[in-house]
Symmetry: C2
Subunit: 405 residues, 2 copies
C-alpha cells in the first residue's frame, strides 16, 4: 500500500515525540508499505513566530509571514527525517518547493492548484520514506505560501489524492471522532466510521478533529481518511463515502455555544429583504442560521438570525454600513446555544428530529427555534441548558441503538 | 551606489536588534543607495537546532541538517524584511533558492559555484530592499545546502562580487580590525584600512573578525570590504588591495596560544622525509609551522614542528598510522605560543623582524625559533611570556609610528 500519514504539532512537540512518530512511520514501512509523511510545526512554534513578527511589525507583510511560518514545518520535516534514519530507514525531507506543491499567490491563505509528484515518486522508488513539510507550497514565482490554519491536513489529503494513496492517516491528540464531545457528554462513544458529509457537518459545528477544508478535499477526490491518536494504537475513525443508511443512525450530537442572535426591527416589508441580508453576509463570508421573521401591523417586519459570536462584529458592521437596507433598530444578544444531531439517514428518516424533540420535551427543555439541512437537525436553546440537553439527546439515540460505534 | 550589508547573529539576536538593523538599512536606502542585506540566524539558534538534531539522531544526515539549519537564516530574513517594511520601505526576503545561489552538494560545507542575479536585480529595479538569507544555497537538485560556519560572510562577499556592488559592509559586534587583541594589548589601535593579504594572515592567526574564506573571495574578485559595529556609528576598517607601502608599517601583532610541538626522533636521514611529513599533514588538512631538524651521529635525525592544539590528535594519528615514516619515538608538548607581526611592507623591509627581536631582547624574552612568510614574522616563545611579549612588541611599533590607525 501507499500510505500518507499526517502528524500534527502536538505529535512532534519535542525530540521524544518526534522519535515516537519515527517509530510509527518505521512500523508502517516494515509492514511493507510505501510511506509519505506530512508534518506540522512543533507545538507552539507557529504562535511564537507570529508573536515575533507582530513585535517586529504589527502590519507585517503576508509574503514575509509565509516565509517565517514555513520554517516551522521545515524544521519538523528535517528532524523527523533524521529520527527515521536513526531507526535504520532511508528518509528524505521535502519542502513545499521540492514536493512541487503549487498554490495560488494568496499569502497566508493560499489554495493548492496542482502537485507534480515526480520528485516524491522518484524518492519512493528509491526506497526513501518521504517527509513533506505540511502547510506550505510555492506560488508561480517560487515564493513560499502557506495554506492557513489546519493547512497540514490539506497538504496530506492533497498529496494522498495526487499520489493515489490507498489511505491518508491523520494522527492527532484524540483517538477518533466521537458521537459527542466527551467533556460535555461523558457517555459519548467513538465512531468506527463516518461519511464525508457527516464529518463536514460536524466540522462546521465546531468539532475540531479535522479542518473542514481537508474533509471537503478528501470527499472530492475520494481519499479514504483515518483519524487516529499518535499516542496509542487504537484503530481510530475511518472517514469515507458511506452507503446510505437504511436505519436512522446518527453520527453525532454537537453543542455550539459560539452563537449570537441579531434582531432587526422596522424593515420595510417588500421583496428582496432577505436577498440583501444574505448577500451582505455572503460578501463578508459570514454564515447565518435560524432565520425568523415577523410581520408587523404597520407594514414593516422584524427579522432575526444567528451568526457565530466570532462573526458578530463583522456582521453588525456590514449591516450598519449598508444603506440599502433601511431599518429602525438593530439589537443582538447571546445566551443561546445550538444543539445539533447529524445523520445522513435523516433525509429519508423524519424520525431523527422527532427523537431529539422527544428527548428535550421529556426533561422540559424549551426549543426556541429549529433549523434543518439535508443531514442535520438543529435547535436553538437556552445556553444554560445546553450541556444537559446534549446528554439527554445523546442518551436517547444511544439507548435506542441509533449510534454505531 | 549598490551596497551589500551583512549582519551577524548577535546583530539580529532579538526583535529590538532586528529593528535597529532595519534602521541602519533604511538609512542607507534614504542616502540614495540600492541595498542588498545578508543576515545570519539570530543569536544561538543555529546551536539550538544542532542540539535538537543530535538529540533526535547523533548520526544525523548532513542533508537534513542543512534543511534544519537553513531555517535559522530564513527566519531572520523574513523578520528583517518585515522590520524594514515597518519603516516604510519596500523589502523582500529571498532564500538560497530564490536568490539563485548554486553550490556544490557537499552538505554542511558546500562551496558557491555560481549566482544568477536575475531575481535580485529585478527586485532592486523594482525599488525593493533585498534581504538574502545567508549561509545557504541550493545544489543541482534544488536541495538546501549550507556553507559552513562563517558562511553568511561568504554569501555577502559572493553576492557583492556577482552584483558588482560598490562595497560589502560587514556589521558585527566589534567596531573594526585592531592592531592587536585589545584584551591582551590594551594599547591596541583600530586600523582604518588593511590589505586583503594582511587580513588573510591575521585570520589564519586566529583573529576572528572575518572568516578567512570570505576574505580570500573578496581578494579574488576585488570586493571592497568594511568591518563595522552594528551597535555604533564608527567608520570601521576597510579591507582592500593596498598599494605596497614604502615604509615598514605593520597591520597587527597577533598571539596564538593554540600551539603544540610534535617532536620525532630516530628518523632515517634520507631524502624525502619532509616530503612524507608534509604530504601526510596535507592529506589530513593540517597546517604545520616552525619546522626544525637536527642530525644525529648515528645517521638518523630528530625533527620537530608545530601544529594547532586542536589539530594535535589528528596529526599524531596520521603520523602513527603511516608505516612509510619509520621512527623511534614521537612526543608532543604545549606551553608555547606564537607571536606574529603582519606587514605587507616586510618583503622589502627586513626592519620589521629586527624591530620585533629588539623589543623582545630589551625585556629578556627568549626566542625559541623563528618562522617567516612573505608578510608575516613569527617567533615561538614561552606561553607564560606571550601576553607581555605582545605588549612590548606592539608598543615598539606604535611608538615608532609604524602602525597607521
Amino acid at each position: 500500500m501507499l500510505i500518507v500519514q499526517k502528524y500534527g504539532g502536538t505529535s512532534v512537540a519535542n525530540e521524544e515525540r518526534i522519535k515516537n512518530v519515527a517509530k510509527r512511520v518505521a512500523a508502517a514501512r516494515q509492514a511493507g508499505h510505501k510511506v509519505v509523511v506530512v508534518v506540522s510545526a512543533r507545538g507552539d512554534l507557529t504562535d511564537e513566530l507570529m508573536g515575533m513578527a507582530v513585535r517586529v511589525n504589527p502590519n507585517y507583510s503576508k509574503r514575509e509571514m509565509d516565509v517565517l511560518l514555513a520554517t516551522g514545518e521545515l524544521q519538523s520535516s528535517a528532524l523527523l527525517a533524521m529520527a527515521i534514519q536513526g531507526l535504520g530507514h532511508p528518509a528524505v525531507s521535502l519542502d513545499g518547493w521540492l514536493a512541487r506543491i503549487s498554490t495560488t499567490s494568496a499569502h497566508t491563505n493560499a489554495r493548492i492548484t496542482s502537485i507534480d509528484t515526480e520528485r516524491i515518486m522518484a524518492e519512493l522508488d528509491n526506497n526513501q520514506i518521504v517527509v513533506v513539510a505540511g502547510f506550505q507550497g510555492v506560488n508561480r514565482r517560487g515564493d513560499f505560501t502557506t495554506l492557513g490554519r489546519g493547512g497540514s491536513n490539506t497538504t496530506a489529503v492533497a498529496l494522498a489524492a495526487a499520489l493515489k494513496a490507498d489511505i491518508c492517516e491523520n494522527y492527532t491528540d484524540v483517538d477518533g471522532v466521537y458521537s459527542a464531545d466527551p467533556r460535555i457528554v461523558p457517555g459519548a462513544v467513538k465512531l468506527s466510521e463516518i461519511s464525508y458529509l457527516e464529518m463536514l457537518e460536524l466540522s462546521a459545528l465546531g468539532v475540531n478533529v479535522l479542518a473542514k477544508r481537508s474533509v471537503g478535499l478528501a470527499k472530492k477526490y475520494g481519499v479514504k481518511l483515518v483519524v487516529k491518536s499518535s499516542f496509542d494504537d487504537g484503530p481510530g475513525t475511518v472517514i469515507k463515502e458511506v452507503r446510505k443508511m437504511e436505519g436512522m443512525f446518527i453520527s453525532g450530537v454537537a453543542v455550539d455555544k459560539n452563537i449570537s442572535r441579531i434582531s432587526i426591527s422596522g424593515i420595510k416589508d417588500e421583496p428582496g429583504v432577505w436577498f440583501k441580508v444574505f448577500s451582505l453576509m455572503n460578501q463578508a463570508n459570514i454564515p447565518i442560521d435560524f432565520i425568523q421573521q415577523a410581520k408587523m401591523d404597520d407594514g414593516t417586519k422584524d427579522i432575526s438570525f444567528t451568526v457565530a459570536k466570532t462573526d458578530l462584529e463583522g456582521a453588525v458592521a456590514a449591516l450598519e454600513d449598508n444603506h440599502r437596507l433601511g431599518f429602525d433598530a438593530m439589537t443582538h444578544h447571546g445566551g443561546i446555544a445550538k444543539l445539533s444531531v447529524v445523520s445522513t439517514g435523516m433525509a429519508t428518516n423524519p424520525g431523527v428530529p422527532s427523537l431529539m424533540f422527544e428527548a428535550l420535551f421529556e426533561v422540559g427543555i424549551n426549543i426556541d427555534s429549529i433549523s434543518t439541512s439535508e443531514i442535520r437537525a438543529s435547535v436553538l436553546i437556552d445556553e444554560k441548558e445546553a450541556d444537559r440537553a446534549a446528554n439527554v439527546v445523546h442518551e436517547k439515540f444511544l439507548s435506542g441503538k441509533y449510534i454505531r460505534d
